[in-house]
């Protein structure tokens, strides 16, 4: 580190922008296109189909509801013109009209009740159905998809997008009503008086034209508000999830400023959107005013000239007040539909993620009595095209044997174990478990026979016992305790406030890393599988505890096959065979003594395990260099 270039630059002295962002990059953004995409509608329709009866009922109900709405001004008109002439003889007509009115509003009440309950319930169901469809699909999609997809993004589909589908369903039923109302009003006005009707309706095209100009920029503004919302929220979520790292690296100040930028952009976008939304208010009010003025002047003159009943004029005024409502709500529903299409698109995207790793048509269940052998035959595999991570690997693990995988970091050990479980499919070659190609086995049966302790211990919110038992719900408390004792977790579990029933915080945050690892180790033991894969299962555990575990496991693992990955070579000294990987290639294999005699990579790694840098001769360091010419 030369002092010249290494000025302390934690403050922004150079005026350069910081290399920092908050919130993740989202390359894929809101697809915001047509309000109607037949493909998506068909897709979503398949989820609505089970409820088509209810949807039909609510459509009928909404029609009835709309008709009663339309009828009310007509009834008023009739009452005025035929029931209230001043000669007093019309009281009975008025009473009849009132009776009709009462019946209408009862029907209106019933229709609105039926419509809203059915559509509300169906929409809720649709929401939950879609969510479940996605969630259960995600249980099957390949891990390579999950690896590159942020949890947050999937969560927003599982939560946000399903909501807009719910909204969509409610809205579409309502828009049926609105369309009928609109045409109904037009029809009734023309029917009541053609000339006055036409004159009054002439304001409608103006509104359409205004809307036409208004919509494109308004849409952009609304989308902007929506997008900046999700970016700001993404940044907030990141800040919450990574808060420990933020504090430890003292990034609060920088993050705050970056977040402030996003929040402020969000504020501006919202204000802009509000401007666009509100500018329509006076326009609609003006047009309503013009229409009413027309009725007053033209209609009034006609009434004066006795060319029109006064009741018709009153009815006109009533209709005009309601006239712009359906137009307004239809345009609003238009954007709901657009949003729904975008959401539908994203939902379909999730539902359409191909399930690459599927049970073959003739897949057989791996039986419990299989021998437990594992074999790699010329396996080549990688995550990205043309970048193989494992190259032509072949080895065989006999039943009951314990084989260790060692090698520099990034050499492909974890990847190899993932293949045993068929997390991914190989590019070339074969992985055999119990003598069967894993692609010919059902995944569930394979999963039952291969238990893994993963390199990252992941625990669920819940009690200790729930975590150890996990999906083996039939495992007894004794089984759980036995497993915990075998891995030496029993003592610390008993010291927790409620023993095995103590609640673990999110991801086991109230335990130490080693303790978490012990629990996930115990979880693998309870799974009681024929093959046990331990990927750095004791990396965060001291050798003494590890030795106790190994002793306890001797009996537990009798007759089981073990695949062990470890960097601490003492961990694997009991292995029957050691396979050394480097850069995805298998470079050596044999037992400890054979490999030591060979003086190859293993011997070098082994020696380094027991020296420290002060006394490594420089040649050794140099000689070690190719080891981790890190992949």
């Amino acid at each position: 580190m030369s002092a010249a270039t290494d000025s302390d630059e934690i403050e922004n002295t150079s005026g350069r922008p910081p290399k920092a962002v908050v919130g993740s990059h989202r390359e894929e953004e809101e697809v915001f296109g047509a309000a109607y995409d037949p493909r998506i509608v068909r897709r979503i329709w398949s989820y609505v189909r089970p409820y088509r009866m209810q949807v039909a009922i609510s459509v009928v109900a909404v029609l009835v509801f709309t008709l009663t709405q339309l009828a009310i001004p007509l009834l008023i008109r009739y009452a005025i013109d035929n029931g209230m002439a001043t000669n007093g003889s019309n009281r009975s007509t008025l009473t009849w009209v009132i009776a009709g009115f009462a019946v209408t509003i009862l029907i209106n009440y019933a229709a609105s009740y039926v419509q809203e309950t059915t559509v509300g319930a169906v929409a809720e169901n649709l929401l939950f159905d879609l969510r479940r469809a996605m969630f259960s699909h995600l249980q099957r999609v390949s891990l390579s998809f999950m690896d590159k997809t942020e949890v947050g993004r999937l969560m927003s589909r599982l939560q946000g997008d399903v909501n807009s589908m719910q909204e969509f369903l409610e809205t579409s039923v309502m828009s049926v009503g609105d369309i009928v109302l609109l045409f109904g009003i037009v029809g009734v006005l023309l029917f009541l008086d053609l000339r006055l009707g036409l004159l009054t309706l002439s304001t409608m095209p103006i509104l359409f034209i205004v809307r036409l100009f208004w919509l494109p920029p308004a849409k952009v503004a609304f989308m902007g508000a929506h997008e900046t919302n999700s970016t700001a929220n993404g940044a907030l979520a990141e800040g919450i999830n990574g808060v420990r790292t933020v504090q430890s690296l003292d990034r609060q100040r920088v993050n705050f400023d970056l977040y402030d930028d996003k929040a402020h952009t969000n504020l501006r976008a919202h204000l802009r959107a509000a401007k666009f939304a509100q500018v329509m208010v006076p326009i609609v009010d003006t047009l309503t005013g013009i229409a009413m003025a027309t009725v007053i002047v033209v209609g009034g003159s006609m009434v004066l000239g006795q060319a029109l009943d006064v009741g018709v004029m009153v009815a006109f005024l009533f209709y005009i007040q309601r006239f712009f409502d359906p137009i307004r709500s239809l345009t609003m529903q238009y954007s709901v539909m657009q949003r729904a299409m975008a959401s539908g698109q994203r939902i379909s995207e999730v539902l359409d993620v191909p399930v690459d790793v599927v049970d073959g048509p003739n897949a057989i269940a791996l039986s419990r009595d299989m021998d437990g052998s594992v074999e790699f035959k010329n396996v080549t595999f990688g995550y990205r095209k043309n970048q193989p991570v494992l190259k032509n690997i072949s080895f065989k693990v006999k039943p009951g044997e314990t084989v260790a995988l060692v090698g520099p970091t990034g050499s492909g050990k974890t990847s190899a174990m993932a293949l045993v479980h068929r997390f991914y499919d190989v590019w070339e070659g074969q992985v055999l478990v119990g003598g069967h190609d894993v692609r010919e086995l059902t995944q569930d049966s394979l999963g039952d026979q291969v238990a893994m302790v993963l390199q990252d211990s992941f625990l669920f919110t819940g009690s200790v016992i729930e975590n150890i038992r996990y999906h083996k719900t039939q495992a007894t408390r004794e089984d759980v305790v036995a497993a915990a004792k075998a891995v030496g977790a029993h003592d610390f579990i008993m010291r927790l406030p409620d023993g095995y029933d103590s609640k673990l915080e999110q991801r086991g945050g109230n335990l130490s890393s080693g303790q978490r690892q012990l629990i996930s180790f115990a979880r693998a033991l309870v799974a009681d599988a024929k093959i046990l894969v331990l990927d750095e299962a004791t990396a965060n555990i001291d050798s003494y505890t590890e030795m106790l575990i190994q002793k306890a496991l001797v009996t537990l693992l009798q007759g089981r096959t073990g695949l062990v990955i470890a960097h601490r070579l003492a961990t694997i000294r009991g292995a029957d065979r050691i396979i050394v990987l480097q850069n995805g290639e298998m470079v050596e294999s044999g037992n400890h003594d054979q490999l030591m005699a060979k003086k190859g990579l293993y011997a070098r790694l082994y020696n380094m395990n027991y020296s420290s840098f002060d006394d490594i001769p420089d040649e050794l360091v140099a000689g070690a260099a190719p080891i981790g010419k890190a992949t």
Partner: protein, 635 residues
């Protein structure tokens, strides 16, 4: 009402109170009681929200004035319409001559047009400024929330689920933000419409006036009750949905575990269980909501029916004109919307109350760890670190996590720490950057107690590679520069080189620009650890801590990392926690921690000679095949 439901609603409402150490009232059994509690506490919340709102006095004033004018103008419309009807109708009932009536109609029409336009403009201004105040308040709250969250100490974050915090920062904040435009402004609007409107109507015709307003109290009562109950079930629903999202989130985050155990069915049944619970409540809410809207609608129409009937008879009797009746009826249509919105207004109050209480509770939390009033910047001179009889216990833990820990280290020295899982090693080093404060004893750097130093200077002086590396979803470069975003490229590359990661990164198609995923899924375990080592190497702390940060790295790579860091290590105190003894055998001092105490200490040779626990570990690692058990048990 099941008590479980009320429990959970309450649980959420009070969880922050518990954390801040305040006691909440004993368990309530019904939703009503929960409501009482919330209303009681709500008062000061409203005061606070109003005060926040008033930070934008001009906009608030414009909004209120606009609302007032718009509502008043709106009241003119029914009158004008009624007058027009009478003017037109006048001839039939033997009124004035044609031309005069025509003119009168024109005047009314133009007045109406002007009133409509003005009403539109003022409504626009009311809505726009109302929203503007809301968004501005929301912006301020957001920043306050973000800042608070970033500063709250580990002990807070240990207990609160991240999902709940996210809900608080999004939904609850929204509830507070919307209060002005959906709550306060509506109060003004409604009081003008109903108050002035009632006066106008009743002064025109007492009976008809009362009849036209007859639906108001019913609707007001119904919708308030409904909305309060919707609000309360909303809290419960929120609670259930948060369980559901936790199930989903943990499933997706722990997808490898799920797959490894072929536990998809199990996970689906967990999902179905929480989903069914949420759905049931959602259905219930739909029913509450719907029966309310239909009833409100009905009562409105029924009132209209009565007005028409009674009014019709009055017209027949010649007591009022058709125009007056029409104006009553139009007035009712105008009133219908805002009265219905009364429910929303009540909802807005209830929402602001519960959301605001939660939000303010969080914003009000005392930072347990903050700069002391007389805090000074830490001045590192010799770089001597001293733990003096330090003890510490996690909140809620039954027994001390650390007790009587003392040691000292000077610049250039390395202290190795070993011990069984859960012995307190990570806890010990987490006290140094003050993630937690010591319960007893003291930690000093160059004689300055760290609790008297400013947090910023302290945390800059302490570099920590955490046991679990959290990587941000951004480029590798940004991740390495996380602690020092202004670091130059060479510095970043050098850090990556020292961490033995440069070659790997350089081989990636996008190099340093490669985006690494959430918790770094697409990197191998060792690559992730090396990335977080590199992250610390761009800093120049006085104390550098490696918490088991080479566990997933092979010995060869680790050797090279350490030899690359040799010069780096010379300028600071190094604390190295490791289970691999080769990593720390040349430390100047090795501490063996067990049950929160230092049970052995010394150099490698001294500890070996001592023949205790360390010796047992050593034998296990160095002499494969031997039986070191006796030695270990002897200790």
């Amino acid at each position: 009402m099941s008590s479980e439901k009320a429990e959970s609603a309450k649980g959420r409402a009070t969880s922050f109170a518990k954390i801040s150490g305040r006691r909440s009232s004993p368990a309530k059994t019904s939703l009503e009681h929960a409501a009482d509690a919330q209303w009681g506490r709500g008062l000061s919340t409203f005061v606070r929200i109003s005060r926040l709102t008033l930070r934008h006095p001009w906009q608030v004033a414009i909004t209120i004035v606009s609302t007032f004018i718009a509502a008043t103008l709106q009241l003119f419309i029914p009158r004008l319409l009624g007058r027009a009807v009478d003017q037109a109708h006048g001839v039939v009932s033997g009124g004035s001559g044609g031309a005069a009536a025509q003119n009168a109609l024109w005047v009314t029409a133009i007045t109406l047009l002007v009133v409509s336009i003005l009403r539109g403009l003022f409504t626009m201004s009311q809505n726009y400024y109302g929203e503007s105040v809301g968004h501005r308040t929301g912006y301020e709250l957001r920043l306050a929330f973000y800042e608070k969250i970033q500063r709250l100490s580990f002990s807070f974050h240990d207990k609160v689920h991240t999902g709940d915090l996210i809900t608080l920062g999004m939904l609850d904040l929204e509830g507070v933000r919307m209060f002005f435009s959906t709550g306060l402004v509506r109060v003004v609007l409604l009081s003008v419409l109903v108050g002035v409107g009632a006066y106008l109507l009743i002064s025109t015709d007492l009976v008809l006036g009362l009849l036209s307003l007859s639906f108001v109290p019913f609707v007001a009562w119904r919708s308030s009750v409904t909305n309060i109950s919707l609000r309360l079930t909303w809290n419960t629903l929120q609670e259930r949905l948060s369980v559901l999202s936790r199930v989903m989130e943990e499933n997706l985050g722990g997808i490898r575990v799920v797959r490894a155990f072929a536990a998809q069915e199990h996970e689906l049944s967990k999902f179905d269980h929480s989903s069914a619970e949420a759905l049931e409540l959602a259905h219930k809410r739909v029913n509450i909501r719907v029966s309310n809207t239909s009833a409100m609608n009905f009562s409105f129409l029924a009132a209209m029916c009565l007005v028409l009937w009674v009014g019709g008879n009055k017209v027949i009797d010649g007591e009022i004109s058709v125009g007056t009746l029409a104006s009553f009826l139009t007035f009712m249509t105008i009133l219908q919307m805002p009265v219905r919105q009364l429910g929303l207004m009540v909802n807005s109050f209830a929402r602001a109350s519960s959301c605001g209480t939660r939000l303010f509770e969080l914003l009000d939390l005392e930072l347990p760890i903050k700069d002391a009033p007389d805090a000074k910047d830490l001045v590192v001179t010799d770089g001597t670190l001293r733990f003096d009889n330090v003890s510490f216990t996690y909140e809620g833990a039954g027994h001390p996590t650390l007790s009587g820990v003392s040691f000292e280290a000077r610049r250039g020295e390395t202290v190795g720490i070993v011990g069984p899982p859960g012995s307190g090693k990570s806890t010990l080093v987490h006290l140094l950057p003050r993630f937690y404060d010591v319960d007893g004893g003291s930690i000093t750097i160059d004689g300055q107690d760290i609790s008297k130093a400013t947090l910023q200077s302290l945390r800059r002086a302490v570099g920590l590679v955490q046991q679990d590396s959290f990587l941000f979803t951004t480029s590798i470069e940004n991740n390495i520069a996380y602690g020092n975003p202004w670091a130059r490229e060479q510095r970043i590359e050098r850090a990556a080189e020292s961490a033995q990661l440069h070659n790997y990164i350089a081989g990636l198609p996008a190099g340093y620009g490669t985006i690494v995923g959430e918790r770094g899924v697409s990197l191998s375990g060792g690559q992730r650890q090396r990335l977080s080592i590199a992250r610390s190497l761009v800093l120049k702390p006085a104390v550098m801590i490696f918490d088991d940060s080479t566990a997933a790295i092979d010995a060869g790579t680790e050797q090279r990392i350490r030899s690359a860091m040799k010069r780096f290590a010379k300028d600071r105190v190094n604390l190295v926690i490791s289970h691999r003894l080769s990593s720390l055998m040349h430390a100047d001092q090795i501490l063996f921690v067990e049950d929160g105490r230092i049970v052995e200490r010394g150099t490698h040779e001294e500890l070996l000679a001592m023949g205790g626990r360390y010796r047992a570990l050593y034998d296990l690692q160095v002499r494969p095949g031997d039986e070191p058990l006796q030695t270990a048990e002897a200790s």
